[in-house]
């Protein structure tokens, strides 16, 4: 019998027991949808992590100042400033593997423009922050030397701040108030989007170090050139470990501490992100494995229904054999039926997966990427399940004796 005729026969057979066919397909539908959704979420998370590592500037350490222990009670991180701009210069000069070390201070302040107000994170920086964290300017310019040395009243704003305060209008040259200090906007940063923790990375304002130190109040500074953290970029990823050791030694020496309780802390951000990503990948892998089990269970359901179908249609098989169907014809007929069930189920599962990932992206803020090879793989895999689990029932049908099949009640 020709292939298209077999497909037509299979299609009619599936329609005859429509409800049963749909219920049978349900296992495959759920299995395929679950596998695709899990893999899409996994790929999405991986994509975000890659993006974030890229945004972080790749090979970056952050050195935090830690509250010095005084009479047993330690203040919050950064409450007493032990790191200084000189430490940044020392790291840059004495550790050749370091490409840039950017000192930063941060504070929170209310920012007002016209009748709009917003509370972004305020960072005191110099121009080294741009290479250290891979910031690009969308508009305007970096800080000038004069602005940096004289606590100039200027600011470079993040994309979120621009959107919230200015909307569509041009912010360059406009004056905003940061707490009580009026400052002029000289630049806008290019957007980076959310990080994996879901924090908006564009909700910030850059101002010169001295401006934040002197004009944005509320900081206890141990030294006039104290900073809260250093962002240290290493030229070559392979030197990370070496740089960490040298930096530790250098800073201890500069601060004259030897004990276990150093007044600073070195963190490797991309490592943190990667650890998180690895955990997520393991989690997603587990979910995908569970989803595959449901695909397997769906396959067993197909086998079960195909066996029922063969038994129910024994007389039909007998008749087909009597009028000239060879065992191979019968075998193909039932195999195609099982494959059709599975491929239909796989296609429906794919559609559901697309719908679910779209709505997860839209309403829950997930990033999900359905890779084309995953689609091909899952549809192909479900057809394969059809062949695998359809084989036994089909073989059983083809090996019936025509005379027994015809007499079957």
């Amino acid at each position: 019998m020709k292939w298209w005729m077999l497909c037509k026969v299979a299609w009619v057979a599936l329609q005859v027991n429509l409800m049963r066919s749909i219920l049978t397909m349900l296992g495959i539908i759920i299995g395929v949808a679950a596998v695709i959704i899990m893999l899409a979420l996994g790929a999405g998370a991986q994509h975000e992590v890659d993006q974030q590592i890229k945004n972080l500037g790749g090979n970056v350490f952050v050195v935090f100042a830690r509250g010095r222990a005084s009479s047993g009670a330690r203040g919050a991180s950064g409450s007493v400033q032990t790191l200084t701009e000189m430490d940044a210069e020392a790291i840059e000069q004495q550790i050749p593997q370091v490409s840039v070390a950017a000192p930063t201070i941060w504070a929170n302040a209310q920012v007002i423009y016209g009748n709009m107000n917003w509370a972004p994170s305020v960072r005191g920086v110099d121009n080294r922050i741009f290479p250290a964290q891979n910031w690009q300017l969308a508009q305007g310019r970096e800080f000038s030397a004069a602005e940096l040395s004289s606590a100039g009243r200027v600011a470079i704003i993040g994309a979120t701040v621009q959107r919230e305060l200015f909307g569509a209008s041009d912010p360059i040259g406009q004056t905003i108030r940061v707490d009580r200090t009026p400052v002029t906007v000289i630049g806008v940063l290019e957007a980076k989007g959310q990080n994996t923790q879901g924090n908006d990375q564009d909700d910030l304002i850059f101002m010169p170090l001295d401006t934040v130190r002197k004009r944005i109040a509320g900081m206890t500074l141990a030294s006039p050139r104290a900073v809260r953290s250093l962002i240290v970029q290493v030229a070559d990823e392979r030197d990370m470990e070496l740089v960490e050791q040298e930096m530790e030694a250098l800073l201890r020496q500069r601060m004259r501490t030897t004990g276990t309780d150093a007044p600073f802390q070195i963190r490797n951000l991309s490592e943190m992100v990667e650890t998180r990503a690895r955990t997520m990948q393991i989690f997603n892998g587990l979910l995908a494995a569970v989803a595959s089990v449901s695909l397997l269970v769906g396959g067993i359901g197909i086998m079960n229904i195909m066996l029922v179908s063969v038994t129910e249609r024994t007389r039909e098989i007998g008749l087909r054999m009597a009028v000239g169907a060879e065992p191979g014809d019968i075998m193909r007929q039932f195999l195609i039926e099982a494959m059709l069930l599975c491929s239909l189920g796989g296609t429906l599962g794919l559609s559901i997966a697309v719908l679910v990932t779209r709505s997860l992206e839209k309403f829950a803020g997930f990033t999900a990427i359905i890779q084309p090879e995953v689609v091909l793989l899952s549809i192909g895999f479900s057809a394969l399940i059809g062949i695998f689990f359809g084989y036994y029932p089909a073989r059983k049908a083809s090996q019936l004796q025509p005379i027994d099949a015809l007499r079957h009640e």
């Binding site: 019998m1 020709k2 005729m5 009619v12 005859v16 007389r315 039909e316 007998g318 008749l319 087909r320 054999m321 009597a322 009028v323 000239g324 169907a325 060879e326 065992p327 191979g328 014809d329 004796q401 025509p402 005379i403 015809l406």
Partner: protein, 249 residues
């Protein structure tokens, strides 16, 4: 005498039922010529059904031979037997065995679909349906047809592959008297057109329409005689008149 269309030589069949051996057929020789109309009779368990199954290549003998147009088909594989059935045998069953939810035309086309060299031409299938008087109902499903019409579709299906012999197993068993007579009338007409027909029945009234009667008993051929066939058309006419008179009375 010309070459028989189909013949059995020393045909035996032994079944094993538990520890007991049951001999369903014990050496049967039958030669069937082109154009014969044969009734196979006998009580149940006489071996007539086993004999028919072997003529139809649905079952294989324990020993002896089946020859179709001189060719021994006894030791062929399942696939080869399927091709033989497809080429040389047309089946009509007591329960019609039509595919449900499939039109009359598609049911008739079924044997052709299993033929590798078939080009999808439906003309002859249409012609067969016309021959059994159902050209108006080609697109009807079996559930939309009466029992007699369903059996006619089955007969058209048995004719579509232009078989050497039509095997009918109790074709009137599931039909009322009048419809049964109509079906027998159709068989007689087909026979007059040259079709070879072998019919299994346990009703002597049905067997009377054949021109040769084989009677089986205990796995052996008890008698094989030529008889003068009665006319199904006359019986049908008589039956209808009688029924009409009963209706008036």
């Amino acid at each position: 005498m010309s070459l028989p269309v189909i013949e059995s030589l020393g045909l035996t069949k032994t079944y094993r039922m538990g520890s007991q051996q049951v001999q369903a057929l014990a050496g049967v020789d039958v030669h069937i010529q082109q154009g014969e109309f044969i009734a196979v009779m006998g009580p149940s368990g006489s071996g007539k059904s086993t004999f028919m199954n072997m003529l139809g290549c649905l079952d294989s003998p324990s020993s002896g031979e089946i020859r179709i147009q001189g060719e021994n088909v006894t030791h062929l594989s399942a696939a080869e037997l399927a091709r033989i059935r497809n080429r040389y045998i047309g089946f009509v069953f007591q329960q019609f065995n039509l595919l449900p939810r499939t039109t009359a035309l598609d049911n008739v086309l079924l044997p052709l679909l299993y033929r590798k060299d078939h080009d999808g031409n439906q003309d002859f299938a249409t012609e067969c349906l016309r021959r059994v008087g159902l050209e108006q109902r080609m697109d009807h499903h079996p559930s939309q047809l009466s029992g007699g019409q369903q059996q006619r579709v089955a007969i058209a299906r048995a004719l579509v592959n232009q078989p050497a012999v039509v095997l009918a197993d109790e074709p009137t068993g599931a039909l009322d008297t009048e419809t049964g007579l109509e079906i027998m009338q159709l068989f007689q007409q087909l026979n007059q057109e040259g079709k070879t027909i072998v019919l299994v029945t346990h009703e002597p009234e049905v067997a009377a329409f054949a021109s040769r009667q084989l009677i089986f008993r205990d796995g052996r051929l008890q008698s094989d005689k030529q008889v003068k066939a009665e006319s199904a058309s006359e019986h049908l006419a008589r039956y209808r008149t009688q029924k009409q008179q009963e209706g008036l009375a």
